[in-house]
Amino acid sequence: MADLSASRASAVASHVAAAPKVAVADLGALPPRTRFVFRGREAAITAAGPAFGVALPREACRFAEAGDRRVLWLGPDEWLLTAPEGAGAAIVADLAAALAGLPHSLVDVSHRSLGIAVSGAMAARVINNGCPLDLGLEAFPVGMATRTVFGKAEIVLVRTAEMRFEIDVWRSFADYVWRFLEEARREFA
């Protein structure tokens, strides 16, 4: 089996170091996270919440969190579970115990993507350079999370505060997305 304990080098580390300060559109890399994609039917969905520590949100395009764990609704039977790095083995064990006999799938996708935070008064405008969604507070409120597009890349976009977004992007697209964001926020520098 592949050694998954090897330390990960961030795909955007060099960009982070060189990033200029832009107060109204700050750009930053988020620390590595443990990520799982969970899929299942009603009984498994109900049982997965207490085992993970956060009830799986049933409302479309919303996320829920408790402590340092977060669950994002990605589809009617699909959720993204995230936790601090290193929590993976415990999550697998807890869910396996709680979901014994219930058909479901739990796939570790921790190394597939990385997180980028965009914050500040112009955060939504910067993201809208590459994302066609309406990012007004009414259409995209705090607590919303959804897969969408950013330029040519598919991302998961999360609004954690009125002026703060988190982008989860596949590692191989991270360089592209970061440079796109950097280009977009230049007008506010």
Binding site: G75, P132, T148
Partner: protein, 101 residues
């Protein structure tokens, strides 16, 4: 930009969707009993109407699910969208509540 209403996620930009061909085409239960003509018709013959067309779409950069839509092939107007597995809404273009433009 064209806005398409996903039955799960609500109104979303066209860029997030992929077209999936004509809807409500059931695979024959026992293909081995079909003639070549009947099998060919299942595979390739489509209604291709001028006007309202029931078709499959996938919200690929969203919830990822397939759903069905009634779209006017002349105007590109989406008269209705509805979950996969549910019957085609019994209506014409004028009688459907607008669900997207």
């Amino acid at each position: 930009m064209l806005i398409i209403t996903c039955p799960h996620c609500g109104p979303r930009p066209e860029l997030e969707f992929r077209y999936g061909g004509e809807a409500h085409i059931a695979r024959p239960a026992d293909p081995s009993t079909l003639t070549d003509e009947e099998w060919g018709a299942f595979l390739y013959q489509r209604a291709n109407p001028r006007g309202l067309h029931a078709e499959r779409w996938r919200h690929v950069a969203g919830c990822g699910r397939f759903f069905n839509a009634l779209r006017d092939t002349q105007s590109d107007f989406f008269a209705a969208t509805y979950p996969a597995g549910t019957p085609r809404p019994d209506t014409d273009a004028s009688g459907v509540k607008e669900s997207g433009r």
